[in-house]
């Protein structure tokens, strides 16, 4: 399905820096705000979710600070790129767009972690929460990555290990081995759709946020998020919550399970033919499942 054209795009001021956003669809029912992953991936790869706009609600995408079309700050360090920074940026965006009183949030991967952080603070306007392909803690995420990596073909594992030991993780062989993992557990569409490709390019162009908060790749989380967990606060979430994951997702069921266990009003849909991006891997079904959930929580 073609990605719908935006109704308009713009920026909001965030402490002297700018957050770029894009709105799809005419005003109608409670709008949906999409939080991209990475961190630092940019909104592009989640654009198919704009298809929800056809169901009568606006869909807001934005680039988080340091990413895509928002202000880049390549010189800021680890103490700057915090969870709180992105929570503040989201609050600012909701306020500036005038939707803080009633909105849905859909966070993909890191975006879902951020959305959970937002939700445990019990914001009054949050009507429905979608946590898509996100771990509830980095400890679980790392364990899943290790397990999935252990299932890669032996020669791929050997390549990864050899270059990691030699410190040559930018070697083409290493990148090719990493690609094997990505094709299995990140996006199974080959080639990746253009909007997903655009996100990879975003990260390559300015990896500041990704490298600082995450690390060099999907199975080496050495950044500031290394010890992150929201598990002990999930019981505080008041909004009805939909969990989304893929059968081959790097966010394995184990990593999402605490959301299912501790959020009081929760449901979970696993997409059988998807990995980490069911919104592009099974787009039509995804829009229907998410749309039905949002309809039930307006």
């Amino acid at each position: 399905m073609a990605i719908p054209e935006p109704l308009h795009t713009g920026t909001v001021d965030f402490d002297g820096r700018s957050t770029w956003y894009r709105i799809t669809g005419e005003p109608g029912r409670t709008p949906l705000v999409v939080l991209h992953g990475g961190p630092g991936a940019g909104h592009n790869y989640t654009l198919s979710i704009a298809g929800i706009a056809e169901q009568g609600r606006q869909v807001v995408h934005y680039d988080q600070l340091g990413t895509g079309l928002s202000t880049h700050l390549p010189d800021e360090g680890a103490d700057f790129w915090t969870v709180q920074l992105f929570l503040d940026e989201l609050d600012n965006l909701l306020k500036e767009l005038g939707i803080a009183d009633a909105y849905h949030l859909l966070g993909q991967s890191w975006g879902g972690m951020l959305a959970a952080e937002h939700a445990v603070r019990r914001p009054a306007g949050l009507r429905g929460l979608v946590i898509a392909n996100s771990p509830a803690s980095m400890e679980l995420w790392l364990a899943a990555a290790a397990e999935l990596r252990g299932q890669l073909p032996p020669e791929v594992q050997r390549t990864l290990l050899a270059h990691e030991a030699a410190g040559t993780t930018d070697h083409p062989d290493y990148l090719a081995a990493e690609q094997v993992f990505n094709e299995r557990h990140v996006c199974r569409l080959n080639p990746n759709p253009p909007e997903v490709q655009a996100t990879w390019e975003n990260i390559a162009a300015d990896p500041t946020v990704y490298h600082t908060m995450n690390g060099p790749n999907e199975f080496h989380v050495v950044g500031t998020l290394k010890d992150w967990s929201v598990i002990d606060r999930l019981h505080l979430v008041e909004a009805p919550t939909l969990l989304v994951s893929g059968r081959y997702d790097e966010a394995t069921p184990e990593t999402l399970r605490p959301f299912a266990d501790h959020i009081p009003d929760v449901r979970w849909h696993m997409f059988e033919r998807s990995s980490h991006m069911p919104h592009v891997e099974e787009e039509e079904l995804y829009l229907r499942v998410v749309g039905t959930f949002l309809d039930s929580t307006d």
Binding site: R247, A260, V266
Partner: protein, 576 residues
Amino acid sequence: MSRSTRRSAFAAATVALALALTTAACSSSDDSSSADATTSSSAAGSTAFLPQHKGGTLKLVAHAAAGSFDPQVNYTLQYWQLYQSMYDGLLSFKKVGGQSSFTVVPDLAAAMPKVTNGGKTYTFTLRKGITFSNGKALTTDDVVASFQRIFKVSSPTAGTFYNGIIGATACLKTPASCTLKGGVTGDAKANTVTVNLTAPDSEFPYKLAVPHASIVPKDSPTKDAGTKPLPTTGPYMAASYDPNRELKLVRNPHFKEWSREAEPQGYPDQIDYTFGQTVESEVTAVENGQADWMYDPPPADRLNEIGTKYTSQAHVNPLTAFWYATLNVNTAPFNNKLARQAINYAVDRSAVVRLYGGTNLAAPACTILPPGFPGHVDSCDYTKGGGTTWKAADLAKAKALVKQSGTAGQEVGIVVQDDDVNKSIGQYLQSLLTQLGYKATLKPLSANIQFTYIQNTKNKVQLALTSWYQDYPAASDFLNVLFSCAAFHPGSDSSINISGFCDKGVDAKMQTALKTAQTDPTAANKQWGAIDQTIMQQSPVVPLINPKIIDFTSKRLGNYSFSKQFYMLVGQTWVK
């Protein structure tokens, strides 16, 4: 996990069946609960072949294909139904409608096996003159290789059905080099195959009669054949298979009927199975005569027209299955027997029948073993006033038991699948628990995740809604599989004993019944019936309904018959 694929195929099928079938006009071949019940369907296969009906193309439609066509890999009803007229095992289920469809008969074996060595050795003599659809004659080597192949292709039931064969443990460990040494041997000269088990298994004949034990040529690939169907021995073979479009079955030119009850010759010359239609268009196609049968259950909003305008074309059949609620006996509040019994008294099975789609699609359930299933005894401990059949819920008694248990006010999470039917039953249970004084919450999970989620004790599931459909007609397939201590695996995603029920006394009785079944199946079934009632007294589950299925067929389709094991006998239908 192994059963879930087949199970989910059923579950998916029943989902769309739900909601209101407003008319009771459909023809029905309901069995009564007695073991000798007959259906209204003709008992195809046992009657003589009627040559005037031979020929034509039978047209089947389904929303989607069912994946790999490998009979030793596929675990869906959708294809098991077709395999009945394609692949053969040493034994098979009788190809007739009604209760006799549960009977195992010799198929590629000339007679039932000679069982020696205290029930551990089965010796089969092969029929002579059977040829695969590729023209090669069936030999003992093919049989031995097929048993090895079960493990080499990691058949879903390799570890559950066939792990009792000597050598199976090694084969499960390293499938690629599976030899089943000492387990399965062939004697080409004597034309015999011998299977040695590590222990007697009264259910082994059933396990040999399901498609995973099909005999395929010895040179078949030792991996999932996928979309390249293997040669058959039965009346039909696949001419082409494209899961996105169509499966075409044509006559196996080498087939000659060797046993009318095991593998009767088919009527249609060709069977075209088209995929990719919407369920709505499937109904229309059958109504217009463009298709002869639809796999998917008709959607709710078409049931009325089917029941009024196409009465003679709708066939309703009860399934040997039950939908039930599990109560976690190891976690509060259901670690209290009185609390469990309270739920059993409180649930109105008739209300659940309505939520499922009405009396044409389900019947109230009181026992674990479904009516018509070996061992089943009509008994209904938890209905108002007691008795043998469901009458009404006893809410007053339930409330008194909750009070007596001291569990009122506790929180109860209910985990259901996220489709409309399961959710609505979940909502009903939620409101009922609230009425009883619990704080109930509902957690809908997609079907593919719910089944494993509710099995894992780590998730501390207190109450879950699930279902179980028979693999083969033995009481142990429900009672031993679902309620034995051995079926409870804490911390695992495949702990099918979801209630965590483990009673040493009941376990001992089940072992006795399994042993009795080796020599006296009738006596064993009596024992199983008593075990069912003993478990129900402990109340680890709430049986809710026994589902039924609707087959919607074209006007021209004749000789409809329903096997309780594999459903409509496709090859026995005629279109001329």
